[in-house]
């Protein structure tokens, strides 16, 4: 059975609106106007045990709202979701004991207390038997190399150290499902890599399923075989990470090394870069092989590669509003549906 099953999930927020100015402020005192904001609209997907799924989207796409619904913090406005067989928002203890939520921008350890004391509190709350607790704590502390930090108060830790301690605290009860909302936000590259490696290792060891949002594509590339891309609360793409460019990117790049550094290259595509004989050209995806053949025919070529554009660029393109509709149409015509 899938760990996470989501069907037509929807969340509408009612937010007060008022125009600028004193008059509007006074009017809003007695007649408040509201506007409905659809944060999440008709999401459906499943996550199988042990899967690591990247949940991607620009700010305001509905990622955090979805994670909050799946971890039981928010009621949906419509649709259904089951995590480990439970309706999350009922917040049954059996459910809460088996999942964890880590939010990179929020602290759940006690600010003034040494890290070990917060761990101890979690032991009491999750009722982890002493031996299991110590084994889990020692293993996690060891994996994240924070042995010398745990006796310090949280407020004395650097951002990266704090995040590592947060993650240990969130995993002491060995959750089967992990919701990670920007776990590497604000960290330097080395620390991001450390946490990423750890999460991969933890997933392999524990078989826990992971749903991860991150603005750092490196996190997604390193951890997720599958991604769900959402925009304006709707799923744009759900499938293998490797297939994302095929579906969404409208172009490919051809890099050629030409014997003649000054060869005329009009009519092949958009020249992105030219460095002596080494030229990078962007061409429509469907024309890539034809253009490559032409280049090989018409010039003396010592080397040629055809590549998808970098994932960062693909994602950026999906999220830029102008292309979103087109991307959405492209994806829908490919009917990715929900994987799994």
């Amino acid at each position: 059975m899938a760990d996470v099953v989501v069907d037509d999930l929807e969340r509408v927020f009612r937010v007060p609106v008022r125009e600028a100015g004193l008059g509007a402020a006074v009017r809003s005192l007695y007649r408040r106007e509201h506007r409905e904001v659809r944060a999440v609209e008709g999401l459906s997907f499943r996550i199988e045990p042990g899967e690591v799924v990247g949940f991607l989207g620009p700010n305001g796409a509905g990622k955090t709202t979805t994670l909050k619904m799946l971890s039981g913090l928010l009621h949906p406005s419509a649709g259904s979701a089951r995590v480990l067989g439970h309706e999350p928002w009922r917040r049954e203890r059996e459910f809460l004991s088996r999942m964890t939520l880590v939010m990179g921008n929020r602290n759940q350890l006690q600010w003034d207390l040494p890290v070990v004391d917060s761990f101890e509190m979690n032991r009491a709350i999750f009722r982890i038997p002493r031996a299991h607790f110590e084994a889990a704590r020692d293993e996690l502390v060891d994996l994240l190399e924070i042995g010398d930090l745990v006796t310090k108060p949280v407020r004395n830790l650097s951002l990266g150290e704090r995040m590592k301690a947060e993650i240990v605290g969130a995993l002491l009860h060995r959750p089967q499902v992990m919701f990670l909302d920007e776990p590497t936000i604000g960290l330097d590259v080395t620390m991001q890599k450390r946490i990423r490696t750890f999460l991969g290792e933890y997933n392999r060891r524990s078989g826990a399923s992971v749903m991860l949002t991150s603005h750092y594509m490196a996190d997604v590339l390193a951890l997720c075989e599958r991604v769900i891309v959402i925009h304006h609360g709707r799923i744009l793409y759900d499938g293998a990470l490797s297939g994302l460019a095929d579906r969404v990117a409208a172009s490919k790049t051809i890099t050629v090394r030409l014997a003649d550094a000054h060869a005329a290259l009009d009519g092949y595509g958009r020249v992105l870069a030219r460095d002596g004989g080494r030229v990078t050209i962007e061409v429509p995806r469907t024309d890539a092989s034809r253009v490559a053949a032409r280049l090989l025919n018409e010039h003396e070529v010592s080397d040629l590669t055809i590549e998808d554009p970098p994932l960062e660029d693909v994602i950026e393109r999906v999220f830029s509003d102008g292309d979103a509709a087109a991307a959405s149409a492209a994806v829908r015509s490919g009917s990715p549906g929900s994987a799994g």
Binding site: K68, W89, R106
Partner: protein, 262 residues
Amino acid sequence: MGREPGIVRTYLRVGTLFELQYRVNFFLQLVQSLVALGTAVAVIALVFSYTDDLAGWSPYELLVIVGVHVLLGGVIRAFIQPSMQRLMEDIREGTFDHVLVKPADAQLLASVQQFSIWQLVDVVVGAAVIAVAVANLDTGLGPLDAGAFALTLVLGAVTIYCFWLLITVGAFWIVRMEFVAELFNGLYQAGRWPVTIYPAWLQIGFTVLIPLAFAITVPAEALTGRLGGTMVLAALGFTAAIVAVTRWAWRRGLRRYDGASA
């Protein structure tokens, strides 16, 4: 429900160990308590320099009230207020999420998350004042009175906890509630006097709206031979009612927080 005592014990232990690091707070608190007590006693002495009897209360009987007031104030500032203020902050900043995703009763977790043990100095000082005052009373103190005192004091503490939580729950609707602590501490000062000295409308206010009567005057009545069985029952009934209302308001607040009502 079996895990709750374990949670409270762990939070208490960890909180106590933490506060023990700051021993200078103990001395600051002691000085503060003694100054406050000195002021209270001076005011009583001043009042009784003009009269022998205040609404039927003698000087030592009033000292009992001062003692209960100090003692309960210590309990409030040690166990109730810190967690409530933390809860308001958590709701405002969204960190309350972390309380909700824990597999334990959220009200309990929110209510025990912070202690201020040095405030217990007031509990000791209050108890000492009560002891001195009772020793100087003409009426003797039987075991039944002592039992009634202990019972009504616990009920009073529960009542004040519920009152605080009821107000704090307001943060689910009105985000900024920090002024409440000041407001409460201001009103709490009124509890230094028996509620019977106030006009009728204020007496009702101090009984039902801000339950100072049940929290302070009633336990003091137990020690001064004024408390009847009916009042004990009334205190029991009132506490049960406010506990139920608080639980109900808490659930409503949670529903608002997670948007179930939206």
